[in-house]
């Protein structure tokens, strides 16, 4: 059934592109329906994790320790497990076996007597430290695509101290700093061996890595939150053994024993670190990015197949990320997604239902956010929007979801491009540095009528390029564009 629908959409797209049979496409920027999911009475609906069983039922966990199962067909909820400590991720192996990441452990919940409730709470791993600091949240488990899992471990915060009794080795040199790592592997992403539960240190340098995703080809992506050492929130492409910038985690790096990472000179740290692939200008796009997912719905979620969607706590929209591989390195652009469609804030977890709709779980935890759950589904309309933004040697290629009205797009003076950077420093956050306009030399319409090529007078790496399209840019059928401004993180020039 799904296959047929999938095929149908592909055919429709094919028709519209190649034979310009425009009657097949309904344009509209209200392309998504956002519906509230009714959560059960008595639940404090601060969501920590969502995943789906193959039969379409949703497995989900909440702040006060519940793991619940929701059947979208009957809209009924059932209790699978309870009493966990702030679970922030769930992954169902089957309807009788789930993995849950909570504060103390990664736990396997097993319903051995098949009565719908877990009766075995088995430790998969607890080989990481807990100091008692409230900020040591744990995220995951994210399947790595090869049978194992990734988890990520938040640093502690100097908003509170640690306990007299901690779990795991205490290292005093990890105690200073605004966000700190005085027990093992705080600020790390770890790989969990599914066979024996062994925990393998994977990459370091994270602050609040509340979002893990793996794409089709097995590449690992992690979001991190603005704060100390993070001028703005960002998305990292994470590779084994690399360091991503927040120094506290280095306490647990081999060869760094006895060194307070904050005594390492900033230029050295700057050389050591891997940069964010896509940066989200603070408070404009994101304050606290959360769960990334990839749209592999085969067109069932609209025209953005293959792109990344990320949740965000502080805004009533999601983020749509367009990755651009430049000479083997991933960077890319970002725009708000599903704005003004009824989505509320606090979008802590997002997950695909088997029918191609996106379920959203909210949380706040005393920060900005919300409560409850929503479901986003595509209604078949094609929004007029930026489809992709790719770096060229002299500027950017922008393509759109729909053919554009050429007159609305051909004046180079009606485009503005600003660039700036956020500083890598110990301080909390960063202002925008070296904000300057870059002159647009030339704008060329693409032959297919669905894109433009922008030549800039100057391209420099290590800046965010904020491109604002002409005020009245619209589709051929005069649908105004959804997002006029897009933010491209340029780490590397095209050779």
């Amino acid at each position: 059934m799904r296959g047929i629908k999938h095929l149908l959409i592909t055919v429709l797209f094919g028709v519209s592109i190649f034979s310009c049979n425009k009657s097949e496409i309904i344009e509209g920027n209200d392309a998504y329906n956002v519906d509230d999911i009714k959560t059960p009475a008595g639940l404090r609906a601060e969501n920590g994790g969502i995943a789906f069983l193959p039969d379409g039922r949703m497995v989900t966990c909440f702040h006060l320790g519940e793991v619940l199962i929701y059947d979208p067909k009957t809209e009924e909820w059932s209790v699978f497990a309870k009493g966990l400590h702030d679970p922030l991720g769930v992954y169902p192996i089957s309807e009788f076996e789930m993995l849950v990441m909570h504060r103390p452990e990664l736990t396997r919940l097993v319903d051995t007597d098949k009565d719908g409730k877990a009766d075995l709470y088995q430790t998969v791993t607890d080989q990481f430290g807990i100091s008692g600091n409230y900020h040591e949240y744990n995220y995951g488990p994210q399947p790595d695509g090869k049978g194992d899992f990734f988890i990520s471990l938040n640093d502690a915060s100097n908003g509170a101290g640690i306990w007299k009794e901690v779990r795991g080795e205490f290292r005093a040199e990890g105690r200073p700093g605004r966000m700190y790592s005085c027990v093992p592997y705080r600020g790390w992403v770890m790989k969990v061996d599914a066979e024996n539960g062994d925990l393998i240190p994977w990459a370091s340098g994270f602050r609040s890595p509340n979002g893990i995703a793996v794409d089709k080809s097995g590449r690992l992506f992690i979001t991190d939150n603005q704060g100390d050492w993070l001028g703005t929130s960002k998305l990292y492409h994470v590779e084994k053994g690399k360091f991503y910038g927040h120094p506290s985690s280095l306490v647990w790096e081999k060869g760094f024993e006895g060194i307070d990472p904050l005594t390492i000179p900033v230029p050295v740290l700057d050389k050591m670190r891997q940069k964010g692939s896509v940066l989200f200008p603070h408070s404009i796009l994101a304050n606290s990015p959360t769960q990334p997912v990839f749209d592999y719905t085969g067109g069932e979620f609209g025209p953005f197949e293959g792109q990344m969607i990320i949740g965000e706590m502080d805004h009533d929209f999601l983020l749509r990320v367009i990755l651009d591989e430049v000479d083997g390195e991933i960077q890319g652009a970002c725009v708000p997604f599903v704005s003004n469609q009824g989505l509320t804030k606090g979008n802590n977890r997002i997950a695909w239902s088997p029918d191609g709709s996106l379920f959203v779980g909210k949380s706040d935890r005393g920060w900005v956010g919300g409560k409850g759950m929503q479901k986003i589904s595509w209604n078949g309309k094609t929004p007029m929007d930026i489809y992709e933004m790719k770096l060229t040697k002299s500027g950017f290629d922008i393509s759109f979801t729909l053919p554009i009205n050429p007159e609305s797009a051909n004046d180079p003076y009606s485009y503005t491009i600003k660039r700036y950077y956020y500083k890598y420093h110990r301080k909390y956050g960063s202002k925008q540095f070296d904000v300057s306009e870059v002159k647009v030399k030339n704008v060329m319409l693409k032959e297919d009528g669905k894109g433009i090529s922008i030549d800039l007078e100057d391209l420099k790496p290590n800046y965010i390029y904020e491109l604002t399209l002409p005020e009245d840019i619209k589709s051929k059928k005069n649908t105004p564009i959804n997002n006029k401004t897009i933010y491209y993180t340029l780490n590397k020039l095209k050779s």
Binding site: R44, G65, R103, S283, N287, H315, Y428
Partner: protein, 389 residues
Amino acid sequence: MLKSYFTYFGQTFYRIRLFMRLLLNKGFIFFVIVGAFFSHPYAKSQDLTEIRIKAISGLKYDLPRFAVKPGTKVKIIFENSDEMAHNLVFTLPGKREEIVGLANNLGGSGPSMNFIPESEAILASIKVLNPDAKEEIVFTVPNEEGIYPYVCTYPGHGFIMFGAMYVTTKALPPLETDQNVPESQREKQEVGKASPHPYPLTYPIIYRTFLPDCGPAGIAVALNKKVSYSWDAGKCMFRYAWKDGFLDNSEQWQAKGKELSIIVGEVFYKPTLGFPFRLDNSENEPEVKFMGYRLENGFPKFNYKMGKALVNEFIQPFEDPNGIGYSVQFEVSDLDNTLIYIADKSNDKMEVSSDKGKWEGNKLYLTPEEGKNFKVYYKEIGTNHHAGH
């Protein structure tokens, strides 16, 4: 009663603020009339009303509302005690949401404008303050009576982080029904017996949570209405038992989870001798690894490794007419030598006994065969007697 509060007066400015706060929180009739009430020369010479507002954790101002007479000159001292940035914007009556909307729409220019939009509906404002920063502003409140909101217009904050400046000489409405104050800051509702979950709470109850006098991987179990205990999953051992209550999790569950769960009731047994087992005639505590627990009739049966031995530990209620207590069943497999179990017997109200093994002082010696399945009973004696007084 009101009179007794008046004895606070005439001392220090700070106390007057305390007094204001007290009245505010109680929803009493009051007004602040500067000069008329103040006999303090310092306050008078300033000729202005000092109001301190702190941004605190949980997207809140510590002061949810205050009242001043029309035309009062006020000095607002704004301090950011939170971990994130906040500003403070006073608006004209009814304009809070409009200003918050404008601020949210500032887009890229928001940060440089401190997220304070240009609007005639703004009475006064203090820019975005980073954590621990402090700033003040002096202005004269309008002569028109009204409810003037103050709000943090940092994106996302304004929908819940606000308060109300009452410019009035009249009584304020009761705090608990004051729609001008965020819901979370109206008088605390009495926590009822309702379950905090989407299911009724029935014994036994298990919570993984942060507990006092326990490692951070804590487990709290209420066996029944009378007896609860804590178990440390990091150290794989029992920590303490208490009676006549379970937990108050409201602080731990509040927001970020900084606070511990609170033990409700009375701790009646807290052994202090560390991990209870010794293996292979060694003086040292064996290494442990927490494997999880299985629910049997709802009670957790803990499972852990201890050296190369595997342990099941099952704590169940145990009662007789003379006292309350619990039993611990141990199943220790893969033992090569005598197993030693150490019980803290220093509490003379606790009676400790076992169904197997030999006691020598506080040590119970068990053969590998006995270690496979034995029970230790902990009973608080004389409970009923004490309860009678």
